[in-house]
């Protein structure tokens, strides 16, 4: 039976390719190779796409909806190991007055915002300067390399360079930019800077590869025409390339932005939130509340608030970004 079915299939494929070769795919008369095929009822036909998409959706629901509901439920309790005591909205009233929670939200916005802007500018500059370069293939794979390291490894590279190995301080001193060893974890902005450097170094390639692809896809003739009209390269960039790339930039920056707001690994390895919580991101806040202080109810309340923010952002910015990206 199985063999027969397989034979059937390969036979039809042979038919198909023959027809395509003849270039008369549609005009050829229908050959009834599939004798086993039963016509399906209208209802079954209607159900079919749901059956295809169902398993994936169920899997995702299990890993997003269930945890979401669980977090909402747990956020109404004070959890001490196995003891859950009802707290109503107590966790929420506490959290909106928690200075650390708002600081984490602010830090995520500051570190993420600065890092994302820097990445976008650098990636755009480098992409614009090399997209018609004859050696661009070679450049491209080199520029990609930082992205191909495990993020935990990248965090250690920069932890060593900034703190433990004092390499950056040493380089700054030999350039005359610093007079003595810089303690990067001693000041709010220096500590944040180390996180930004690590993130920019690793993820600028993500934006770069997308921008280069977009620039290479643009119409060379328009560019050439503008050049013959005497347009400078900067005006070509602002008036031709940039508008053409806008939808792509929106998609790429949105995706990168989502990932930056979830920053955890670098904080965990490089700063652990020091000094005084100045580098604690939302993800690290939830982790610390849940898995360091074992305030699971409280951590869940923070998760629910972060989920609400995510849903709002997803429904507005991201939906629009992907709609415009497709067109």
């Amino acid at each position: 039976m199985l063999v027969a079915a397989r034979l059937c299939r390969s036979k039809s494929m042979a038919h198909l390719s023959q027809k395509l070769e003849k270039g008369a795919a549609k005009a050829a008369p229908a050959a009834a190779v599939y004798s086993v095929r039963r016509p399906r009822s209208a209802a079954a036909k209607k159900m079919f796409p749901y059956l295809l998409v169902g398993p994936a959706v169920l899997y995702l629901l299990a890993i997003t909806l269930y945890p979401g509901l669980f977090a909402m439920y747990q956020s109404l309790f004070v959890v001490k190991f196995v003891n859950w005591s009802w707290a109503g909205l107590g966790n929420y009233t506490r959290i909106v007055q928690d200075r650390e929670f708002w600081a984490a939200l602010g830090n995520t916005a500051i570190i993420g915002g600065l890092s994302l802007s820097l990445q976008t500018i650098i990636a755009m500059t480098v992409a614009f300067f090399c997209y018609r370069d004859p050696f661009v293939r070679g450049w491209r794979i080199i520029f990609l390399m930082p992205m191909l390291f495990m993020p935990s490894a990248v965090a250690f590279i920069w932890k060593l360079a900034f703190n433990d190995g004092r390499v950056i301080s040493d380089l700054l001193m030999s350039l005359g930019l610093a007079s003595n060893n810089v303690d990067w974890l001693s000041s709010v902005w220096l500590a944040r800077l180390t996180l930004i450097v690590a993130d920019v170094w690793q993820w600028t390639p993500f934006l770069f590869i997308i921008f280069v692809g977009a620039l290479q896809g643009q119409d060379e003739e328009i560019e050439e025409a503008a050049r013959l009209d005497g347009a400078s390269w900067s005006s070509i960039f602002w008036n031709i390339s940039l508008p053409m790339m806008r939808p792509i930039i929106v998609v790429a920056v949105t995706l990168r932005g989502i990932d930056i707001t979830t920053m955890f690994t670098n904080v965990y390895i490089m700063t652990q939130g020091t000094p005084g919580g100045a580098t604690e991101t939302m993800s690290y806040f939830i982790y610390r509340q849940g898995f360091r202080m074992f305030n699971f109810g409280y951590a869940s309340a923070a998760s629910v608030l972060m989920l609400l923010i995510t849903i709002v952002v997803a429904q507005t910015i991201v939906k629009r970004a992907f709609k415009s990206g497709k067109s």
């Binding site: 549609k26 994936a56 995702l60 191909l148 998760s303 989920l307």
Partner: protein, 280 residues
């Protein structure tokens, strides 16, 4: 030579200064970290950085004698490969439905799948931890496999969907007139035709799975289930501090296969990374 004249900036010098300096920024930290992997521990955490080390294989000996590096590697491979298989099995039919069928709620279902990619891992960290604790899967590679599959499912579905949208409908119509059923069309026509998309999706999913840190940290509580990514964070020896040379070696062990995979799918990378939104 014409292509040089046409390129980005008009000024060759400015262009090459920018390109060369960014190349240095990308490459120098990597080369320096490579030297870390081949020097003794006494030359790493020092008041004055040592740029030219005494070469040694200390880190390698340490890795083999003190850490079950083969186990970490095996855990990574099993969890990552398993998760990619789960993703493909679930995502290919889903992508087929989203790309080729008209049905009520298609847009919403597609967007729901996409939106799971935006969820910060930390949001579900606590519930997922409780979930796996309750079903007794903490500290298990299987749990990691399930998690990695979930993280990447949206990405894989959207990438494959995008490639399926590009396949001309005529191919299908021809098969349909031959009497081919829906599943036959998926298996015989769609999958072979969008194989580059499927491979791209699998490679990108594998990279993200290898990189995953937070869930692995929470679920793998002993070295029984450590992957390479999290094992790094545990290369500390009490008073010795962080053991950087071992970390460097392990990170290059993970880097090499990823580099090869990425070179293989280079042409499809920007499309894959944007989940199909950008046809690079």
């Amino acid at each position: 030579m014409a292509s040089i004249r046409k390129s980005g900036g008009d000024n060759l010098l400015v262009r090459y200064i920018i390109l060369v300096s960014w190349t240095l920024v990308c490459v120098v930290p990597i080369l320096w970290f490579l030297t870390i992997g081949f020097r003794p521990r006494t030359e790493i955490i020092v008041p004055e950085p040592i740029y030219w080390p005494t070469w040694s294989l200390d880190a390698w000996r340490l890795l083999v004698s003190d850490w079950p590096i083969a186990l970490y590697l095996r855990n990574s491979v099993v969890a990552v490969a398993g998760s990619v298989v789960i993703d493909l099995v679930l995502a290919i039919p889903a992508a087929f439905a989203l790309a080729r069928y008209e049905f009520k709620g298609r847009e919403d279902i597609g967007f729901y799948i996409l939106s799971t990619r935006m969820m910060a891992p930390a949001i579900v960290a606590v519930p997922i931890f409780f979930l796996f604790r309750n079903i007794g899967l903490l500290d298990s590679v299987w749990a990691l496999m399930l998690i990695y599959a979930a993280i990447n499912l949206s990405l894989v579905t959207w990438i494959i969907r995008s490639y399926m949208l590009d396949i001309p409908k005529e191919l299908e119509d021809a098969a349909r007139t031959d009497g081919a059923g829906d599943l036959t069309i998926l298996w015989e026509i769609m999958i072979p035709a969008c194989l580059p998309g499927i491979i791209t999706a699998a490679v990108i999913a594998a990279i993200f799975a290898i990189n995953e840190f937070l869930f692995t940290l929470l679920i793998a509580s002993t070295s029984k289930a450590y992957t390479m990514s999290v094992a790094l964070a545990n290369f500390t020896g009490g008073s010795d501090g962080v053991i950087y040379n071992a970390i460097a070696l392990v990170s290059f062990i993970a880097f090499a296969p990823i580099l090869i995979l990425v070179i293989l799918i280079q042409k499809h990378l920007s499309r894959g990374l944007t989940m199909g939104a950008v046809k690079g």
